[in-house]
């Protein structure tokens, strides 16, 4: 079919110049050039789109806020672990949930302050401090821990988890984290 002819192949409605400025070879070369150029520009424009879509995946998850527990002087003369409730913020995209978690402030063998997560590393129950026995005893499956959080007995595979602390202007702050249960080594999750 001739260029410009109608569907039935009749005489073209259009008159064309006999001297077309571009012959077939130059048309094909230009076409390839344009296709390549468009592809490059398209790829360039796709960069912000991909970065936008992948934002939740590429975002650093270490953006963990430290929650205040109290002033350091409060804990200078600890005889046994004390429980404190901290508020932790869990950010979920454009919203956040504030939840409360119980932690224990205790001392290790060298007399340094350490903060323990109250979540049992066995199956995740909250472990209460039993003052009468001077032990942490999990009410669910009977895991027993020493005042510094180390494992004494029970089905758990490790001692209670210590949390990372920060001391700032005489205040004690803690970064709350969750750890994998039922394993011997502490492993951060979430």
């Amino acid at each position: 079919m001739k260029i410009g002819a109608d569907d039935a192949g009749n005489t073209p409605r259009w008159k064309f110049s006999t001297a077309q400025p571009f012959d077939e070879q130059r048309r094909s070369f230009l076409g390839a050039l344009l296709a390549l150029g468009s592809l490059c520009v398209g790829a360039l424009l796709a960069v912000p789109l991909i970065r936008f879509a992948l934002f939740p995946l590429l975002r650093l998850t270490t953006e963990l806020k430290a929650s205040p527990i109290g002033s350091l002087s409060e804990f200078s003369s600890l005889n046994e672990p004390v429980e404190r409730t901290i508020q932790i913020e869990q950010v979920d995209g454009w919203r956040k949930a504030v939840s409360e978690k119980a932690v224990y402030i205790t001392k290790n063998g060298q007399g340094q302050l350490r903060v323990l997560s109250s979540i049992c590393p066995h199956l995740g129950c909250t472990v209460p401090w039993v003052s009468a026995k001077q032990e942490f005893i999990c009410p669910c499956h009977g895991a027993v821990y020493a005042p510094d959080g180390s494992r004494i007995s029970g089905p758990c595979l490790r001692g209670m988890d210590t949390l990372e602390t920060v001391e700032q202007n005489g205040q004690l702050l803690v970064r709350f984290q969750y750890f994998r249960q039922l394993v011997a080594d502490k492993e951060v999750i979430g």
Partner: protein, 489 residues
């Protein structure tokens, strides 16, 4: 073409071998491409013809950026503003993409006006092009509809109040004006249902109509052919024709490149703003529409009371009908603008009137000290809001848990027991439930406090099988725990 040169011969013909040959055999791609590119343009390629493809490009860009923005946007009065703030302030390239989408809307109006002006001044609606012109008019209205519905979606102060005014203008229509307004708002007032309606119109209904009309606009254009320069006969073109490819396509692509660079620079260097969240109770806020609606906004100020029917309905309707019916009213084949004084004069009058109204609106705002002061204050509030870092929305779950603790001291004590006894380990914070244990929200409605106490003292076999221990509590502690569990909603 040289018949002796086999290579050139083949290039002109359809490819029949290899992958491309197979694809072409299955799809007829080559002939589609060929018929798309080999559109004849009488009188040759010109820069004046670039605006149609420019519009197509912006529309494509709006679809892509719009789809990506929808990854984070939530159309509800509670979350719309937070999610747009999240896009603008937190998400990588979010401000840039939102800028492309927002400035793209303005660019769409500009290029649309240029396309319309070219078609009108070149008399390109003449010669069996009534339906082509008509589909263009409907597309114009749809694009204005996209701009109107999209403007509300960020749900900031100016979006809220501009749309309140915009929907109010509809109620000036006699007899069914109130119904039109209620229909748009989803009720008598603006609210979350208004967002839903505008969102559905902006994302589903109007784009679907635009797709259909762009397809018919292109089909009708190819069916009747390009009109060519205004010295050309619109029915039987006599001037030498040039194919769309390559020269016209290069010109079209130059506009596209200009648009990419222009919109990209604007979105990057002049980030689009977001004001504070809509506050319907704010009585001070002075709403002003986007620049392309300013002339209409100013026009409506001149019509009050009984006469408003004329300004709101009669004159715009006559104008719209006049524009739509143009190819029927103007039947001559004369296309040179200087030989069509009425058409050219009417165009100049309407354009000058629109520009004049827009300028007048700006002038009045700047010369009324109170208005100017309030508008400056609103701009300052917007800039102030933009400076603040993104603040995530507090989720309702944490609020509910906090409220319970405040409401009833016994339940508050129960909450402490709930947590110290590890109930939350399985039943979740606030009894929302986890994989390990069922949600407790609403048990207060299903069981009496006596029944809950009994279940806690003596868990059923099914509960025990699920790992439910028997808490060891004093009667007082039990009472507090039951009060807390029963209060979970």
């Amino acid at each position: 073409m040289q018949p002796a040169d086999g290579k050139q011969e083949e290039a002109a013909q359809e490819v029949t071998t290899g992958f491309r040959g197979w694809l072409n055999h299955r799809t007829g791609l080559d002939s589609v491409l060929r018929s798309a590119l080999d559109e004849p343009i009488p009188g040759g390629a010109r820069l004046a013809y670039v605006f149609g493809s420019g519009l197509l490009f912006i529309f494509l860009s709006q679809i892509i950026t719009g789809v990506f923005l929808a990854l984070y946007y939530v159309p509800s009065a509670d979350h719309a503003h937070t999610t747009v703030a999240y896009i603008t302030k937190s998400v990588t390239a979010g401000s840039f993409l939102r800028g492309l989408h927002s400035y793209g809307a303005s660019a769409m109006i500009v290029v649309l006006l240029l396309h319309l002006s070219q078609t009108y001044l070149y008399g390109a609606y003449k010669g069996r092009r009534e339906l082509l012109w008509f589909s263009g008019c409907v597309l114009f209205a749809l694009v204005l509809g996209m701009a109107f519905t999209g403007y509300l979606l960020p749900w900031d102060q100016k979006a809220y109040f501009a749309t309140a005014v915009g929907t109010n203008a509809a109620s000036e229509i006699p007899l069914f004006g109130e119904s039109v307004r209620s229909m748009m708002r989803g009720g008598t007032d603006m609210g979350t249902l208004t967002i839903s309606r505008f969102f559905v119109a902006h994302v589903f209904l109007i784009p679907a109509c635009i797709f259909a009309l762009v397809a018919s606009h292109l089909f009708l254009f190819r069916k009747v052919g390009a009109a060519g320069p205004f010295t050309e006969d619109p029915l039987e073109p006599k001037q030498e024709a040039e194919l769309f490819y390559p020269r016209q396509i290069l010109m079209d692509l130059s506009l596209t490149a200009l648009l990419i660079v222009g919109l990209g620079c604007l979105a990057f260097f002049v980030p689009v703003q977001l004001g504070p969240p809509a506050n319907p109770a704010d009585a001070q806020f002075i709403p002003r529409p986007e620049w392309y609606y300013l002339p209409i906004f100013q026009w409506l100020k001149y019509w009050h009371g009984a006469a408003s029917v004329i300004g709101v309905l009669v004159i715009p309707t006559i104008l719209a009908l006049g524009v739509i019916a143009l190819p029927f009213l103007d039947r001559s084949v004369e296309r040179r603008p200087w030989k069509r004084p009425i058409a050219t004069g009417a165009y100049a009058f309407v354009m000058l009137a629109l520009v004049g109204l827009g300028v007048r609106s700006k002038y009045l705002d700047q010369h009324d000290p109170e208005v100017a002061q309030q508008l400056a204050k609103q701009d300052a509030e917007e800039a102030e809001y933009m400076r603040k870092p993104f603040e995530p929305e507090l989720s309702s779950a944490s609020l509910a848990a906090a409220n319970v603790a405040l409401a009833d001291p016994l339940a508050a004590k129960g909450k402490a027991i709930f947590e110290s006894q590890s109930c939350n380990a399985c039943h979740g914070d606030g009894g929302v439930g986890t994989a390990a244990g069922p949600a407790l929200i609403g048990v207060g409605a299903k069981f009496s406090t006596a029944q809950i106490t009994e279940l806690l003292r003596h868990p059923t076999a099914k509960m025990k099988a699920g790992g439910m221990p028997t808490p060891e509590l004093s009667p007082d502690e039990m009472k507090a725990l039951v009060a807390y569990v029963a209060s979970l909603k």
